[in-house]
């Protein structure tokens, strides 16, 4: 009974409410590294994620439920299982991987067409900026055709998960948008 009342209060005040954020992108883009950068502020050694990681973190008084989904071709079809009730999508792109920009673009636009994601904000990380030969944020933006996006708050941020650059900036923007649009 106690838990029932507490959950009732939670709802009334929106206290324990969690915002669902998805981190997507092709395999090897750095999604898991970004997730743990956000969570524990450190670089962890990762293996290809077969399935998903999920962490709950509190950021500016908001509880975020951040899902990092595996990017392998075999797992991509199952992304859709996670779309429901998503506040925002973080799409991570490996800026050095010029060959697969087209694939990334295709996956991104395919995903954004989903009905369930119509209200979700989009943040793109042009990751791996620490690597030589990385495309700049604007170049990635062009490759991904981001300008074509209508009716959606989106932003692209150059980042390096290893060095921890750009991650907080990106998230700050995302939180602002979510607060403004959805709360």
């Amino acid at each position: 009974m106690g838990s029932y009342f507490s959950s009732m209060f939670d709802r009334l005040w929106g206290v324990n409410k969690e915002l669902r954020i998805l981190i997507l992108g092709l395999d090897g883009a750095g999604k898991t590294t970004i997730l743990y950068r956000l969570q524990i502020g450190e670089v962890v050694t990762t293996k290809p994620t077969i399935g998903f990681n999920v962490e709950t973190l509190t950021y500016k008084n908001l509880k975020l439920n951040v899902w990092d989904l595996g990017g392998q071709t075999s797992i991509r079809p199952y992304w859709r299982c996670y779309y429901a009730d998503t506040a925002a999508v973080i799409f991570v792109v490996d800026s050095t991987d010029k060959d697969r920009m087209a694939t990334a673009s295709k996956e991104l636009h395919l995903m954004l067409q989903e009905e369930e994601l119509q209200d979700a904000a989009l943040l793109v990380f042009a990751n791996k900026q620490d690597q030589p030969g990385a495309l700049s944020a604007s170049e990635v933006s062009r490759e991904l055709n981001l300008v074509e996006l209508k009716d959606r708050s989106w932003s692209i941020v150059a980042s390096s998960a290893i060095k921890g650059e750009g991650i907080t900036e990106g998230l700050d923007w995302l939180i602002e948008v979510i607060k403004e649009e959805q709360l």
Binding site: R11, I50, F52, Y78, C81
Partner: protein, 725 residues
């Protein structure tokens, strides 16, 4: 900024929904919204409800992806529930299981040992090929875990992996880890590793050399035996029973170390201990009065105070042990007396044990038992009464004194006089058996025959094949005691076509024996019926044989000679194991083999589990399986003893019945295989053994051989099938 009304709606949706809403989409949709709720508590409640639905048998498999999302959580209760769900439904969503892999791998490194253990257990339980690719790292890690609780689970997982994918298991080399777990300091880990290795050995004996492993680790086993749980004890005792001691001293030591467990509350532990003791007993210098025998005896007695199901198992095992050590329970006859509230299956076994147990040199004991059996045969349960009557004759023949047998006979006559038609079958068989034991006793023969002769229409009183067969045999054996012989024979002759094979054979033999006393037309008609109208091959063969004999020049002498053969005395009607079978069974006490009296090697349980795994197998693998199957069948057939003596011995007959049933089964198994591999290809093999023409041809070829068994035929079919591959 979204429009105001949208924001209000959203606010209402998120904040005011307090009680779970009854939506019109149905329960599943409701659960789904709960599972993906933004509130942790709601999600947990929804999981609980889902599991609840699952346990009452509703199909909630469609929620699989949504439940899976809740797998990564710090709440151990929730994790356990989700794991439970995943185990149950993984097979319905094999492709989605891959989403769980990462969580499994992460959980296998969780600081909490409970979670590590749960993760590896669930992961190895999911029978999905894709998941197995990722099992290596977590499995290896948990096998080396610091926590024994995790290790003991991981060693079992190796066996599970082996069952699901043998090649992978060998490739990963986890079997080596498993073997080294036998040296673990924790008793549970040792026990589970033993169980796991035993399982693997059962599935494929060529992979691990279990025997030598056991030889090497006996010290460990004995050391941990006292510290582990009862189930682990059973496993370890099982392993110990496979160990053959080097000398009498070691055997004695093992016996001394395990005897304490004879008093365990768990009957399985007791039986396993008995198994170890019996295995080592022959190597020590023991005598029937030694302390260990007394301990064994009291352990067996204590099993008799367990619930009826356990008693049944105990009785079956006692039956095996008694054959090896008949004197073991000789003072405990009383506890096997039947209680009024025993279930039927226990009662039947008890009678069997009682008769085996009774000391045939002790008249007092035998008489007591006789009165007891008489009581039983007046009960109301038909099977029980039937077994008791059978027991009467068994006891009589065991004791073997004429006076005593007369007493038995008096009881039987008394029973018949009570005018219950249902027991006439059994009484008839029992009396015939007594006569087979004492063929020279004319008094008894005339007494019995006069009773049976008084039956106007024996075919109405007697129902079973065996009983009728006995009756007809008696007609042939003591024709002078039957004043209305011709009438009786005619009754049976008229019904010839309706009788089963035993009775048909018996009629045939009896008429041939009595051909000088009966009109010639009777012989003619029985031979005609037996050759033309019957579907029983053995009967037909026998009739053909007689016919040939009769058509020979010196037919009179030949037939005379055939009929004059006196069968040996019936010494016992208590069935016994062959020494080979007995030794095998003694090693499998307390297992299911001891219930069916069929050693593991002869059973087909493993094939069943193969079938489960068979799904994705290549066709040539299947063919290999089938070949092995057929080869083992062929071996089995050589072992089968097709006794070719006639209906003289009732037990022999039972044996024959059994074999013929088994042969039929074999036919169908072969048949199935045949179907399996025909695949509608051009080589549609004719099933000659099902073909009547084929059979009669076969008989023509076999010509005059008496009692052409189906043995040779089925073997040739097996050969044909083998050639097919």
């Amino acid at each position: 900024m979204p429009p105001l009304d949208k924001r209000i709606k959203k606010f209402l949706k998120n904040s005011i929904r307090i009680a779970p809403k009854i939506s019109d989409k149905g329960e599943l949709a409701e659960l789904r919204t709960g599972l993906v709720s933004q509130y942790p508590q709601t999600r947990k409640d929804a999981i609980k409800k889902t599991i609840q639905q699952m346990t009452v048998g509703k199909d909630v498999s469609t929620l699989f992806p949504d439940v899976l999302k809740n797998m990564a959580t710090n709440d151990i209760e929730q994790k356990k529930l989700v794991y439970l769900y995943v185990m149950n439904y993984a097979e319905t969503h094999p492709e989605l299981c891959i989403l769980a892999v990462n969580t499994f791998v992460t959980d296998a490194q969780d600081p909490n040992p409970l979670i590590r253990c749960m993760a590896i257990r669930t992961m190895s339980m999911i029978r999905v090929e894709k998941i197995l690719e990722y099992i290596e790292i977590p499995l290896r890690r948990t096998l080396q875990d610091d926590n024994p609780y995790v290790r003991k689970t991981a060693v079992i997982c190796v066996a599970k992996l082996f069952q699901l994918n043998k090649e992978l298991c060998i490739e990963l080399g986890v079997l080596e880890d498993l073997k080294s777990s036998l040296d673990d300091e924790n008793p549970m880990v040792v026990a589970n590793a033993t169980a796991s290795l035993a399982e693997i050995n059962d599935m494929d004996p060529s992979i691990v050399d279990l025997k030598s492993l056991i030889q090497l680790h006996v010290k460990q086993f004995l050391a941990v035996l006292n510290e582990c749980t009862e189930w682990a004890r059973i496993t370890i005792l099982g392993a110990l029973s496979e160990y053959s001691a080097r000398d009498g001293l070691e055997a004695q030591d093992i016996i001394d170390r395990v005897t304490a467990h004879l008093q365990h509350v768990n009957p399985a532990v007791v039986l396993a201990t008995i198994k170890v003791v019996i295995k080592n007993l022959p190597q020590t210098d023991f005598n029937p009065n030694s302390l260990i025998m007394k301990k064994l005896s009291s352990a067996l007695v204590s099993l008799m105070s367990s619930p009826p199901e356990m008693q049944y198992v105990a009785l079956k095992n006692i039956r095996i042990i008694l054959e090896k050590y008949p004197e073991i329970l000789s003072k405990e006859l009383r506890i096997f007396y039947i209680k009024f509230n025993d279930p039927l299956y226990v009662k039947l076994e008890k009678i069997d044990i009682l008769i085996r147990l009774v000391d045939k040199g002790n008249l007092k004991q035998c008489s007591l038992l006789l009165t007891e059996l008489k009581e039983y045969s007046m009960e109301f349960e038909p099977e029980f009464v039937s077994r008791a009557i059978q027991g009467l004759s068994q006891l009589g023949i065991k004791f073997s004194g004429e006076k005593f047998l007369q007493k038995v006979l008096d009881i039987l006559i008394e029973l018949i006089d009570r005018d219950q038609n249902s027991i006439k079958d059994d009484c008839c068989i029992a009396m015939c058996n007594i006569l087979r034991h004492l063929p020279e006793n004319t008094d008894m023969a005339s007494q019995i025959c006069s009773i049976l002769n008084a039956w106007e229409s024996p075919d109405e009183y007697l129902r079973t094949d065996v009983a009728k067969c006995n009756y007809v045999w008696l007609l042939g054996q003591y024709p002078e005691n039957f004043p209305s012989l011709k009438a009786k024979v005619n009754i049976f002759l008229e019904l010839f076509n309706q009788e089963e094979s035993l009775t048909q054979t018996s009629i045939l033999i009896t008429v041939v024996r009595l051909h000088s006393k009966l009109p010639g037309s009777t012989l003619q008609s029985v031979l005609e019926k037996a050759t033309k109208e019957t579907t029983e091959l053995d009967v037909r063969d026998m009739a053909i044989m007689y016919w040939r004999c009769l058509s020979m020049d010196d037919s009179e002498e030949l037939v005379e000679e055939l009929c004059k053969i006196i069968p040996p005395h019936l010494e016992t009607t208590i069935d016994q194991f062959s020494p080979d079978l007995l030794e095998k069974l003694l090693l499998e006490l307390g297992t299911i083999s001891s219930i069916y009296f069929k050693p593991q090697a002869n059973r087909r349980t493993r094939d069943v589990s193969y079938e489960n795994v068979v799904k994705g197998k290549e066709i040539n693998e299947l063919q290999d399986l089938a070949k092995n199957e057929l080869a083992s069948k062929a071996n089995e057939e050589v072992l089968l003893d097709f006794g070719d003596d006639d209906e003289e011995d009732e037990d022999e007959l039972d044996g024959d019945n059994l074999t013929s049933v088994r042969t039929n089964k074999k036919y169908s198994a072969l048949d199935d295989l045949d179907d399996l591999f025909n695949f509608g290809t051009t080589t549609g093999k004719p099933k000659s053994f099902k073909d009547d023409i084929g059979i009669s041809q076969g008989i023509n070829e076999l010509n005059l051989r008496p009692s052409v068994d189906s043995n040779s035929r089925s073997q040739s079919n097996t050969q044909e099938l083998l050639d097919l591959f």
